[in-house]
Amino acid sequence: MELAERKNLATETMVINGKSASFSPGDTILEVARKSGIYIPTLCARADLPSTGSCRLCIVKVEGVRGYVTSCTTPATPDMVVTTNSDEIEKLRRGILELILSEHPSACLVCPIRETCEQFSAPSSKAGRVTGCNMCPNRNICELRQLVEYLGLKEIRYPFLYKDFPLERDDPFMDRDYNLCILCGRCIRICEENLGLSAISFIRRGHDTKVGTSFEKLHVDGSCVFCMHCVDVCPTGALSVRGSKWYGYPDSETPTTCILCEQGCELVIDTKWNKVMGAHPIRDMSVGKREYCVKGRCCLPALFNNPDRLRYPAIRRDDGKIIYTDWDNAIRHVADIVSHYSPKEIAVLSSRHLTDESIYALNEFARVYAESNIFYLADKEIIFPNIERSDEIFKDIKILYLAEANSLTNETIEKFGSLENIIIQDIYPSPLSSSNKVCAVLPATVFTEMNGTKSCAENRRKPITKAAEPPGNAIPDWEIATKIGNALDSPDFKTKDLRTIQNHIQMHPWTIAAVPMVPKDSLTYRGFPISDFVPDFKVFIERRLESKGEIHF
């Protein structure tokens, strides 16, 4: 359609609740109402999904039309006169909601003692089979509850008919209880229309109708990619992410970028108790319109909250014992050791998973103190960015500064003929941590625990925002490298804080551009297999390999 024509049509008007409202052709009554700031209750309709008119709650009165129409599926027409609310409409909506709730465990919704019950018993109730709100993981964001309150429903006149479907929780990451499902079909639509996957559909007939996969296979054996968008759009507690279902309201929601691979998906981190509790896309799915991968969507909490995380700086004393210490002492110790070597005897192993600022700070350390001996490991391949080097240099190296110790295979270690000292800067202990050459172990943060930026595919530099507190005294990699660099006191080392690093990156963008990217199908974070810390990811990988022979994200 030509712009002029479109503009022309856009001036059409109709009347909603006695007020004139303009609309574009193709707009439904619901869309016109929403644009005009008029609320119409819906359960099946969402602005980011095609409408089906299945829940019937959005009924409105159109002058001259017999009965009531569903506003989500009825297109607006010029001069249409619509009433979205009246006693009669409210009464009908209450009746519809009562019918929906007669098949949903809803006793708590209209229970007079719900508030005290939820205040005291709910926090410790993490039920398998949900029989009421105080046991339901969705109770804080339940759309059924919001509607019960909006319509002032006090009683459900119909007997409760429990569907008695078995709980579905044999899949990794995902719990399903279709006894809570109201058959709104949002999950099916987001999977089919927005993502083009169609992993699920309505199956069976009549009262037995439910959402399921073909042949009722497990999702992991079907075409589901575990992006969990179905969970995001579900108005009930029928679908949930098992690892992230019980924290209730998060203390904060922080938009950031997932840097598990080069894609750099925008992600919102839910935080509670200062820890990452869940990760999900921004609420309006029409913005993203593509599926998230299971790594960013489901693996972050377990990957980052594992109790084995390195917490406190540790150094090797003269008597050979490793002891915990504070940062000042640890940095002094490391600087003292490094100062005994000449630059050509030092090498730095950086990590592709670090933020731009951390990569820059390690680069600077290497440039000033290690003759730019900085390398990366990408699937066992040794990569020297920026500079023409080969692993020939390794035979002169006496001290290694590792930011990704777990990637270092024995085979690579053997190339270092005269190694005397190892500095480890990492998030988890690795087999190398127990080597008697290790002189310091420095705890670093993961990307949800720091601010910064990350250069992703297509040269897009994206913001990283701190969402959680690091464990113990862990600090960002750029800060550790900066502290050591400054302690060594070369006038050439000018890195100080995040701001100066970011300014330097602006001026020398090639230092970052030369760093290899993490491919989308990577199964590791900073050299650690994700499945070592996320048991359901292990299940996912194993089942996928078994049923499809390959894994893609």
Binding site: P123, K126, A127, G128, R129, T131, N305
Partner: protein, 272 residues
Amino acid sequence: MFELIEKSEIFNVHKMVIKAPEIASSIKPGQFVIIMGNEYSERIPITVSDWNTDTGTITLYVLELGISTLELARMKVGDSLYAVTGPLGVPSEIKNYGTVVLGGGCYGIGGIYPIAKACKEAGNKIISIIEARYSSMFYHEKELHAVSDQVLYATSDGSKGKKGKVEDVMGELLEAGVKIDQAFFMGCTQMLERCSEATRPYAIPTKVALNSIMLDGTGMCGACRVSVGGETKFACVDGPEFDGHKVDWKGLNQRKSAYTEQETIVYQSYSH
């Protein structure tokens, strides 16, 4: 050891019949066991609802409310529990009170049965009042009927008996002039508190079986401590039954949610 002989689910309440001959032959009404599904489980105190010395089995009704009970819920007949310790706690005081009301909700529907049975044998008139959200959530009914003079029901949706809770049914009895000489209540803390408040104006002696967090169950760790009449008591060795009119409910509720963070985070790295 501790083989699972029978297993079924009634709306998140899991009936578990477990081979434990030594416990079956020594347990008394009102006592409990502490069970662990596997060696990494939390220790869960569970009231023993029934036992059979011939088969050497005990019957437990376990609510799934966290990871350790989830693991129990997913066990199958033939599996063995890692540990079943008991009998623990002080048995209920069984004597001829006259008319005894027993109120049960959730696991308490099964939990009040042995107390009802023993009180019946001691010559009491037994009125059992059980509550659930829906009529389909009741269980262990036949057994309870067999030892009760009267079984009354309360449901949230009114689908069986009175629409409401145990205390609503009991309130009707009291208003009708029924004299209650002793009351026992078993269920969630909210229910215990509400029922205790309902008997207070009538000065009916009221025993409530508390369900605080426990570790060893022998009075060593103090995790289950509760304030009763201003005195600190251990639910495991001084209880589980206490005077419902003297329990510090607020303190009990606070202690019960002390590990919410850990109980929530453990789901992140859990896999079936």
